[in-house]
């Protein structure tokens, strides 16, 4: 027995271009349905006589399929491939059916036919335009409990996927001579002309097959064949040329500066079982010398009462379903139009055996030939009539027809209405390119006006209606583009013969009769955001005059379809209500993306481990081997602490700090920024960059330097070593290296260009090992050659060159711990070997490695600042207690004038001081605020904040640094740190907690 053949009631034998030899199955809300290969979900649903596909956003009204393309506002479905691959809000008119596809309707509960949210339709007066702004004003408390949950439940269509996106995406940069957007008659003609003239061409179209309007317009004959076949042949011809790239299923979504256009290619969304090699989507970033815009036009709906009932759709879309997919939209189809195109659709349906009870034409005198043909086919034509309302709820069942000028209504039973309010040129891409549109009053439409970029519009998006004119215009654009980019090539002319095209006349923008001002009906302008003609009038009535404001108040055109159908209607209704001409009210701005695109495609490979680079020091693996725990500092992985025998962080840090002060500790300081400053004017240059004097720094000596901006605030700090008369080794903070080098380059190149100085980043070239503590000299001595390590020969803040472990070194006697110490710079490639050797010696001496946390504690015990932690961009050297580092005799340095600004020399500035917790045990929270009187009413007056705070094992008490107003004059004063559950009493002190005299540095 054969499997039972599933009947598709609206599939018309002998119509369309799909083959019954390629059957498929898919499910809609769990029900299995038959389809044919090449169907979209929409065409397959209509084939199965399903129009009801969703509930509307605000009123939960039943909604059906309106269009056959990317302009679709209603038919948004969830498409599920597997548990992790659920994509909401997919347009059924774009998604191709693959075998096994699962589609679900959205925004309904418990089911599509019985939806609780429908109550919104009944209470709709409460939900009129701007209801969010008005309804939820007060009381404040209701926000958390009532309004917000309500809005969260009501807001948004569809369900976001809950799993991590398992798909791969790819992206590609591409350059071409001519980029052609759109593969209809115009785009293909332009592409053939440009390609034949040798231009490198990219042509893209959002549909799986090229042809644009040729999908539905079967009256057109080009070069002796039917239009659609010509399009396929043209595409094949182009695809075979080496200088042409043809992209189907590819949407141009954004047009940016200098002909930079974003395309999104849906690579595998239409496949039942995509190969794992294929990305889901591919982002093309195209830079074109010339862009030809051939994006066509979009048919508009008619704005009449209940025009959103399922079964009501655009006339030419109905024609697409019939002529391309072989599907009739109904058995008994009414026609409501202001444009000739609906006649062609009616004729095709009639000839396919569908009953057309009437064509209702709003015009008194439509094209006589069309009316005659309709009558010849036995179709009743009601000219000067309008559809006052559609009947039915889950599916349209009738249309109530009356003369436009008033008169008796006649109810005509139907099961579908096709409509046309005329055509809107797709100027989205032109407008995104910042071109200015011009109003074509004769045809009530906006067309490209003034161009801002190197592009040209051709075909119906340019307002060109006649088929031969479209082809001529497109060929000319293609040839000219090719000549423009390759001026020395001799021009090849092509010709394309076409006939049968129709320049359809007639337009209606705004509300149709029966939905005009004063009528209490739901005549939808924007289906997706549930905006009616009445809502737009209400916005004007409430005082909104700018179309941009009307748009935001009503949300007209703000849904994911960006008002492709609704913008012109909304504008016309607003203009009428304002009593202004349409161009005076102005069109809202078109923005990217043209249709929704996935974040996945934009992110492409830049996620997870590839999101940003990870920097590791040369010693990283050795640190991993001895159990370091790492922290992220910028892009760096830095050893944070080195736990032993199950220690927690606190215990490890206490041990590391204690061991370093009593014995020896070693620390990986390789992440420090390093800049080599070389040249005859190097000292003079540094003298200008730093606040400190540098001219007299001796060779082999070090100096701690502070760098300000011109405004006098601390920018960075670090130790500078003079290697030779004309050579300095500058260190910066870990995060500061790039900006310090940038600032130095800026001054050198633009303010002091006469100076002979060269700057080189050497951060990655030197590995740095700090060995600190009373035994530090004993540890390194056995490995050092060519350097006298004695206190006399190499005192604190001096350096020498020699070797360590046989490796060349810049050995610096310096300390960020307050202990005697050395910072050993070796070429990065030797860093790990030297580290390993020294670590062995340190271990043997019962010393330890310490991480960044202990480094922070040890320096805080000495009150050494960390720029960016104890400063915040508004701290001067004086505020930080570093006035001694500012050269008082200098006549110039960066910041010299800024430091004298009235505010910077005023009293009461926040100054860096130490804080003791009076209870001797409370460790303050960094960032905590400080007050003078904890009993004052809230909000209290804050006089400062805690910048650094730790438990000091060496001092056996909590230590902290804080920026406090007039802090230097508050020594010994009791202040308060109010926390959530307690108030901590503190005493202001000097920011030194260990070895106040500093004798330990000089051992």
């Amino acid at each position: 027995m054969n499997a039972p053949v599933l009947i598709q009631p609206n599939r018309i034998a002998g119509k369309g271009r799909l083959s019954v030899a390629d059957p498929m199955r898919f499910t809609f809300d769990g029900k299995t349905l038959p389809a044919l290969k090449g169907d979209t979900v929409a065409s397959a649903l209509i084939a199965n006589d399903i129009h009801l596909v969703g509930r509307s956003f605000k009123y939960h009204r039943p909604r059906g399929i309106v269009s056959a393309g990317p302009e679709e506002p209603n038919a948004l479905l969830g498409i599920q491939r597997d548990v992790a691959r659920h994509t909401p809000n997919i347009r059924a008119t774009v998604q191709e059916v693959y075998d096994g596809l699962e589609a679900t309707s959205q925004n309904r509960w418990p089911s599509l036919k019985y939806d609780i949210g429908e109550i919104n339709d009944v209470v709709s007066p409460l939900l009129s335009a701007g209801f969010y702004y008005k309804t939820f004003m007060w009381p404040r408390k209701a926000w958390d409990k009532v309004y917000e949950p309500f809005i969260r439940n009501a807001a948004g269509l569809g369900k976001a996927p809950v799993h991590k996106d398992p798909d791969r995406y790819s992206s590609q940069h591409e350059h071409c001579d001519v980029l052609i957007l759109g593969g209809g008659v115009a785009g293909l003609s332009a592409a053939l002309a440009a390609a034949k003239n040798g231009a490198r061409v990219i042509i893209c179209d959002e549909q799986p097959t090229f042809g644009g309007a040729l999908h539905f317009d079967t009256d057109i004959v080009i070069d002796g064949m039917d239009g659609f076949s010509w399009a396929q042949q043209a595409m094949a011809k182009l695809a075979a040329m080496d200088n042409v790239r043809v992209l189907t299923r590819t949407t141009a979504f954004g047009y940016y500066a200098q002909n930079y256009v974003g395309l999104i290619e849906r690579v595998s969304e239409h496949l039942s079982a995509p190969s794992a090699d294929l990305p889901r989507e591919r982002l093309w970033e195209v830079r074109a010398k010339k862009v030809i815009i051939a994006t066509g036009s979009i048919e508009r709906h008619m704005v009449f009462a209940n025009n959103d009932r399922p079964g009501i759709l655009l006339a030419s879309s109905a024609r697409t379903y019939l002529n391309h997919y072989g599907v009739a939209v109904g058995k008994n189809v009414g026609v409501y139009t202001a444009n000739d195109s609906a006649y062609a659709a009616a004729f095709d349906l009639k000839e396919a055996g569908i009953n057309i009870p009437a064509i209702v034409d709003i015009r008194e005198h439509p094209n006589a030939e069309l009316v005659a043909k309709a009558k010849a086919l036995g179709i009743r034509v009601l000219t000067g009539h309008g559809v006052m309302a559609a009947g039915g709820k889950l599916r349209v069942s009738s249309m109530s027809v009356a003369p436009v000028n008033g008169g008796a209504r006649e109810v005509i039973p139907i099961d579908s209405i096709i409509m046309s309010g005329g055509w809107t040129p797709s100027v989205h891409m032109f407008s995104q390119s910042r071109g200015k549109v011009a109003y074509d009053a004769a045809k009530s439409r906006f067309v490209p006006g003034v161009y801002a970029q190197d592009c040209v519009s051709v075909g119906s998006c340019n307002g060109t209606d006649d088929l031969s004119a479209i082809i001529d215009e497109a060929i000319k654009a293609g040839e000219e583009a090719a000549t423009y980019v390759r001026p020395n090539t001799s021009q090849v002319s092509i010709s394309i013969e076409a006939n049968g095209g129709n320049a359809w006349e007639g337009t209606l923008i705004g509300a149709a009769p029966g939905a005009e001002a004063g009528k209490v009906v739901k005549a939808f302008v924007d289906f997706q955001n549930d905006v009616t003609a009445k809502d737009i009038r209400l916005a004007v009535q409430e005082g909104f005059q700018s179309i941009e404001h009307v748009k935001r108040f009503t949300t007209n055109g703000m849904a994911t379809d960006q008002g492709k159908l609704s913008n012109m209607h909304g504008l016309a209704i607003a203009a009428e209500a304002l009593g202004k001409e349409l161009p005076e009210v102005g069109l809202t701005t078109f923005r990217a993306p043209y249709t929704p695109i996935t974040f996945g495609a934009l992110v492409s490979h830049s996620k997870g481990a590839l999101f940003e680079p990870t920097r590791k020091t040369p010693m990283h693996e050795s640190e991993v081997a001895i159990g370091a725990v790492f922290e992220d500092v910028g892009n760096w992985k830095r050893a944070w602490y080195y736990p032993k025998g199950g220690e927690d962080m606190h215990a490890a840090v206490n041990r590391e700090c204690k061991t370093t002060r009593t014995n020896v500790g070693m620390f990986d300081a390789s992440t420090l920024g390093k800049i080599e400053v070389v040249g005859p004017d190097a000292a003079e240059f540094l003298n200008l960059i730093y606040t400190n004097p540098f001219l007299k720094l001796g060779v082999g000596k070090l100096r701690y330097g502070i760098m300000c901006r011109e405004d006098g605030f601390i920018y960075d700090d670090g130790v500078v070593a003079r290697i030779a008369e004309d050579r300095f080794h500058v260190t910066t903070t870990t995060g500061g290296a790039p900006r310090v080098l940038n600032m130095m380059e800026d001054y050198l190149q633009t303010e002091f260009p006469h100076m002979k100085v060269w700057l080189t980043s050497t951060s990655e070239q030197w590995a740095v090992i700090a060995v600190q503590g009373p035994k530090s000299r004993d540890i390194i001595a056995p490995f050092v050659d060519g350097i006298d390590l004695s206190a006399e020969a190499l005192p604190h803040m001096s350096m020498a060159e020699g070797t360590i472990c046989g490796v060349p070194t810049r050995l610096m006697r310096m300390s960020f711990t307050g202990e005697m110490g050395f910072e050993i710079n070796v070429p990065a490639d030797y860093g790990r070997a030297v580290w390993d050797t020294l670590y062995e010696a340190v271990e043997a001496a019962d010393g330890c490695a310490y991480g960044t946390e202990s480094m922070h504690v040890l320096r805080a015990e000495k009150g050494y600042i960390i720029v960016g932690q104890d400063t915040d961009g508004t701290v001067t050297p004086h505020d930080a207690g570093l006035d001694w580092a500012v050269g008082k005799k200098k006549t110039d340095f960066v910041g010299i004038r800024g430091l004298k600004r009235p505010d910077l020399v005023a009293s009461g500035r926040r100054q860096l001081v130490g804080l003791k917790s009076i209870d001797g045990r409370s460790v303050l929270e960094e960032g905590a605020q400080i007050v003078e009187d904890p009993n004052q009413p809230v909000p209290m007056k804050m006089i400062g904040w805690v910048s650094s705070s730790y438990w000091s094992e060496n001092a056996q008490k909590p230590i902290a640094m804080a920026l406090i107003e007039d802090g230097f004059n508050l020594m010994g004063k009791k202040l308060y740190v109010p926390m959530a559950n307690e108030v901590i009493e503190v005493e202001v002190c000097k920011a030194v907690f260990v070895d106040e005299e500093g004798g330990r540095l000089h051992g």
């Binding site: 200098q258 011109e710 380059e745 633009t750 800024g898």
Partner: protein
Amino acid sequence: MLLIHCPYCAEERPETEFAHAGEAHIERSTEMNALTDEGFSKFFFYRDNTKGTTFERWRHIHGCGRYFNAARDTVSDKFLTTYKAGEPKPDLSKLVDDQTNAGAKS
């Protein structure tokens, strides 16, 4: 993404290779210490924020590393020209004419 012509490399490169560096032709005084409060605030704080043609500094930071100047229209985002640091401001009227002619040609 803009394309920017580096006058040192003599090449048009993508914007991501460059860093913006504020308004151009603001000279640091050789007598900083002698500046009045008003003089300093004009030098440091005040900027034209022009609607229309602005002169600004860019650095080809991920290229040759050089700072250079540009004349750019802040409305259309179009670069009228770029030129080396230290060179005088180009003649604006001539630049705008060139642009108009270039536009007419295409």
